[in-house]
Each structure stands twice: as structure tokens, then as C-alpha cells.
Amino acid sequence: MADLFVNGIILGSIITLGAIGVTLIADILNFFNFAHGDMFSFGAYMTLFFLGIFPNWGTFPGLTFGPAMIVAALLAMGITAAFALFFDRILFKPLRERGASSLFLALSALGVAFIFRSIIRLVWGPQVQYYSRALQMAKRFPMGITIKPDEFFIVGAAFFLVLVVYLFLKRTKMGKAMRAASDNETLARVTGIDTEKVVIWTWIIAVSLTAAAGILYGIEVQLRPIMGWNILIPIFVAVIVGGVGNLWGALVGGMIIGVAQELLTGVLQNMFNAMNVDVLMSAYKPAVAFVLMIIVLLVRPEGIFGTGE
């Protein structure tokens, strides 16, 4: 039980990073970014590319990766964000200026998702890949909890990034402009805020976060071209559970969905095993997301932190 909970927190911190981006884009650019999951994968694969060309700089004590990973990750985050800005310039911006509806933008994002995914498959192939094949001994804690050193890093890095984004939105001028634009875009524009700049920063933050999430997922699990599309569902559900446009909503929603997926499937699996029923519950993680989404939408459609505007 406790171990499943911890696994849920690890998964949840990865989902949170994705959810923050989706919620920012939904709030400021006013559409659901269906390409977010494939940008997640792209970040992970770009990191694999850089790791391949960097010399071996050794590993951090106890971890399966070293300084090369940090440099590769930062470069990959930047490049993924640059790709997103490119798509904004050639696709989303013209649509925005034409006054396209949010559904139209979501549909065009779906096209971008397929473009990213096919590029990943063309360049890196469909097979499963790993950053490192080194096996790690999990540390044992009371109550049957086991945590690998990498996993401490994953949760730590995720919370560090959430804190950075929080401080950015709270303290910097651009952060304030972003919050103003999310509250009321027209008002923001007439008060002299450069809304195009706000859009650019929204993409940079949202996409570099999801790229980071993809990299952390790659460290924890493995790399597959479909991984981002699969995690898109829990990311969206986290946003809906937390309430669109709310940073803390993304964090709480991400944790809830992460923990619920691990706990529910794990507990049910144990139950079915005890009953000698042959099912593979871990395959049903997206179904847990589905059930959670329905419950939230029925009980509190605006989400936990939503204002219901």
C-alpha cells in the first residue's frame, strides 16, 4: 500500500510537470494542446540524442546518470520549446489572428501531435530505448516502501521546477503579465502588455516543462514513441481534476491522478490475485483516469481549484 502510494507520487510529479503546461496553454492561449504528450516524448528523445554525442562524464554517486544528462536535458528542453515556437509561428499564430475557435486550435494541435510522433519514429525507430541500462538497487524503507536513488532525483527535480515556475509567475514582470493575460486578455492588451510576448513565454515554459517531464519519465521507465500519447490522458485529467488555469490545481491534480492510478490498480490486482482471477490491472491505468475524470466532472465540474467562470 505505502509503496504504491510512493510510486504514485513519483508518477504524479511527472504528470504534474505536463499538466502545468497544458493548464497554462489552456488558460492563456485558450485551447487544449493535444500535442503536449508528443512534445513530452520529443524532449525525452532529444536528450537521448545528446547523450549519444556527449563524451562519458561519469555518473553522479548512486544515480544512473551524470552531468551529461543535465546538459543534455537543458538542451533538449530548449530545442523542444524552439520547435513549439516554430509551430506557433507557422500554424497557431495565423489561426489565432484569424480568430479560429478553441476547437479548431485543438484540432490543429492534434495534427502537430502526429507530426512530432512520426518524426520521433522516423529518427529513432519504434523500438524501446533506455538512457542507461545500469540496474539500480532500491533502498528499503519502513512499511515496505522501496525507492531507487533516481526516483529521489525525479521527485526533487519536479518540485524544483514547479517552484521555479511559481516564482516566475509570482515575482517577474513577465509572470505578472502572463497572469494578467490569463485573467483578461483584452484588458491586458489595452494596458500595454505585449500579448505576443506573453504567448511566446507561455510556450517556452509549458513546453520545456513537458520536455523535462518526458526526460524524467525516460529515466524512471524507458523511451517509447507512444509514451507521450499515453501520458496525455492522465495529464489532461490532472488539469480537469485540479481546475483549468490553476498552477496548484495542476500539482494537486497530478498527484491525485498519479496516486489513484497506482493505488487503485495495485490494490485491485492484489484482490484479484487473492481470488485467483486472471487480469492484468496495470493495463487499466487510463481507465482509472477516466473514472476519476467522470467523478470530478459530475461532482465539481470546475475542478478542485477552478473558479467556474
Binding site: 489552456a26 485551447f31 487544449f32 493535444f34 507557422i90 500554424l91 495565423p94 489561426l95 479560429a100 478553441s102 476547437l103 479548431f104 485543438a106 484540432l107 490543429s108 492534434l110 495534427g111 502537430v112 501531435a113 502526429f114 507530426i115 510522433r117 512520426s118 518524426i119 519514429r121 522516423l122 525507430g125 500519447w229 490522458i233 489532461f236 485529467v237 480537469i240 487480469v279 492484468l280 493495463a283 487499466y284 487510463p286 481507465a287 483516469a289 477516466f290 475524470m293 467522470i294 466532472l297 459530475l298 465540474p301
Partner: protein, 310 residues
């Protein structure tokens, strides 16, 4: 060559049926269904289970005739859509799209994992083609071609009738402005429900047509690309809200898809394994190009109401 052509027309007609179904939901009612695959797969499996001979691997088969499979596919898809409509239709716009995506992925997982029901990843083979046992495989191809075209024509007629009726005008009103429709005393929720269920039933028919044509289905036949995305591409290319347009869109997109398969023969062998991904890339670029350059599609929206007062 002729057999290629027959195969092309049958598959394009199948997709034409699915595109008409999406046109009801999105083109005329504004329901952004990103989960076409859900009803497509339900239709295909229902029909397969109803018509295949008794099997030890999965539930049934019941060995029933094709027509029972077809009707069953429509009925089960419609019923599932009816149940899902209760939570899903409470959602608007993008939220509805997300929930449909989640639903379709969940259903695909169920099909993949519940082997007792669907034979899991191994899929169902030996799905019979109507009258093949009597007339042999050559003639049954022609008969199947006729069946596909008749179904496409029938669905086209039905959808045209529907959208030009008072019922269809309410759907259009809901699409344009659901609040105004509600204020005019229209029960928006029920109309959306009917549109969703009608569309899903037609998607089920498309799934059944597909299953009986290929004779073999597995969860891999229903990827988001082949079951959902490509149908969106068809209706956007043809012209959302235009029934002739979306059928043409189905034939054009399927033609491009099949045509690019011929090109693979000319590729160096090292590239062949990756050719499928090039096609996927092309489909993504095509979708965004249409949205950007010709959002109304080839045909644009046709007026489905009288032109009085125009």
C-alpha cells in the same frame, strides 16, 4: 489491377460511412468526437463475435448471418454511446473531446486485455464475408462492393434526410449557439444525445463493414491514427458539414493513403520499414495545411435549410 480498385472502393466507402457519422456529430452538431475509434472498434468486434463460428478463445461466436452482425454492431455502438452520453455530454468543447479520447483509449485497452471476450491481442480471424460460401471468393468481392456502396448510399440518404429535417435544423442551431437554441425552448441535451447516438450507430456500421471485408481484426487495427485521425482528415478535407464533401474527402484521403503504398515499392529497402511513418507525417502535415489554408475544406458548408430570406 481491378482487384486493387475494388479493394480501394470498398475501404473508401467504409471510411465514407464513418466520415458521414462524424459529420453528423461534428459537422452538424458541433460535438468534437476524438473517440471515433471507440464506436468503430465496438462495431467491428460485435459484428465479428456475432457472425464467426463457435470459438474456444472468445465469447461466441454465434455463427449468425452478416445482416445480424451489421444490425448488432449499430445497436451495441448506439447503446454504448447512449450510456457514455450521460457523463460526456455534460462537457463542452475541448472537455468533450478529451473525454471521448479517454473513452476510446479505455475501450481499446479493454479489447486488448479481456481475452475471454475478444481474444485479446491475437484478434479475431475468419470473419465471414457474406455469401462467400455459396458463390466463391471472386464473386463475393463484387457482392461485397455492392453491399458497401449500398450502405454508403443508404447512410448518405439517411444523414441528408436527417439534417434537412426540422431535427437537423435544431442540431445546426445548437452548433451555432446552444444557448439561443435552449432559449427557443429546444431541449439541447436531448438533441445532442440523439446526434451522438445516431453518429455512433453509423460508426458501428462502418466498423462492421471493415471487419467483414478484412476478415481479421485485432486491437492493432484500431490505432488512433487509422480509426480516428484519418476520419477527421477526411471530413476536414471534404468540407465539414457537407455530406457530399466528406464522402469525397474519404475517397481522396484513402486514395492518397493507398497511393503512397505504391510509392513504397520505389524506395530503397532501408527506407521501407520507415515508410509507414512518412505516411503518418504526411497525414499530420496535410491536416494542418487544410486547417491553415482552406479551413472550409474542398467544398465548404452547404446550406441545409431553405434559402428563404437569404
Amino acid at each position: 489491377m481491378l482487384s486493387y480498385l475494388i479493394s480501394y472502393v470498398i475501404m473508401a466507402s467504409t471510411y465514407g460511412v464513418a466520415a458521414l457519422a462524424l459529420n453528423i456529430q461534428w459537422g452538424f452538431t458541433g460535438l468534437m468526437n476524438f473517440g471515433i475509434g471507440a464506436f468503430y472498434i465496438i462495431g467491428a468486434y460485435t459484428s465479428a463475435i456475432l457472425t464467426t463460428p463457435q470459438s474456444a478463445e472468445y465469447v461466441g461466436g454465434f455463427g449468425l448471418p452478416f445482416i445480424v452482425g451489421l444490425i448488432g454492431a449499430a445497436a451495441v455502438s448506439a447503446f454504448v454511446a447512449y450510456l457514455l452520453a450521460f457523463p460526456a455530454l455534460r462537457l463542452k468543447g475541448g472537455f468533450f473531446a478529451i473525454s471521448m479520447l479517454v473513452i476510446s483509449e479505455t475501450i481499446r485497452i479493454i479489447v486488448k486485455n479481456e481475452g475471454w471476450l475478444t481474444n485479446g491481442v491475437w484478434g479475431i480471424r475468419g470473419i465471414p464475408k457474406p455469401v462467400r460460401a455459396i458463390v466463391g471468393s471472386d464473386i463475393s468481392e463484387y457482392i461485397y462492393l455492392a453491399i458497401a456502396l449500398v450502405l454508403l448510399g443508404g447512410v448518405y440518404w439517411l444523414v441528408e434526410r436527417g439534417v434537412r429535417s426540422p431535427w437537423g435544423r435544431v442540431l445546426s442551431a445548437i452548433k451555432e449557439d446552444s444557448d439561443t437554441a435552449a432559449m427557443s425552448g429546444k431541449d439541447v441535451w436531448h438533441y445532442k444525445m440523439q446526434s451522438m447516438v445516431f453518429g455512433a450507430a453509423v460508426m458501428g456500421v462502418a466498423g462492421s463493414l471493415y471487419a467483414h471485408y478484412t476478415g481479421f481484426i485485432s486491437p492493432e487495427s484500431f490505432t488512433p491514427l487509422m480509426a480516428t485521425f484519418i476520419v477527421w482528415l477526411m471530413i476536414l478535407l471534404g468540407g465539414t458539414g457537407n455530406n457530399k464533401g466528406v464522402v469525397l474527402g474519404a475517397f481522396v484521403v484513402w486514395g492518397v493513403w493507398i497511393g503512397s503504398e505504391f510509392l513504397i515499392d520505389f524506395l530503397p529497402s532501408a527506407m521501407v520499414t520507415k515508410a509507414g511513418f512518412v505516411r503518418m507525417l504526411l497525414m499530420g502535415i496535410l491536416l494542418d495545411a487544410i486547417l491553415l489554408l482552406r479551413p472550409q475544406g474542398l467544398f465548404g458548408k452547404e446550406k441545409e435549410i431553405s434559402t428563404i430570406g437569404d
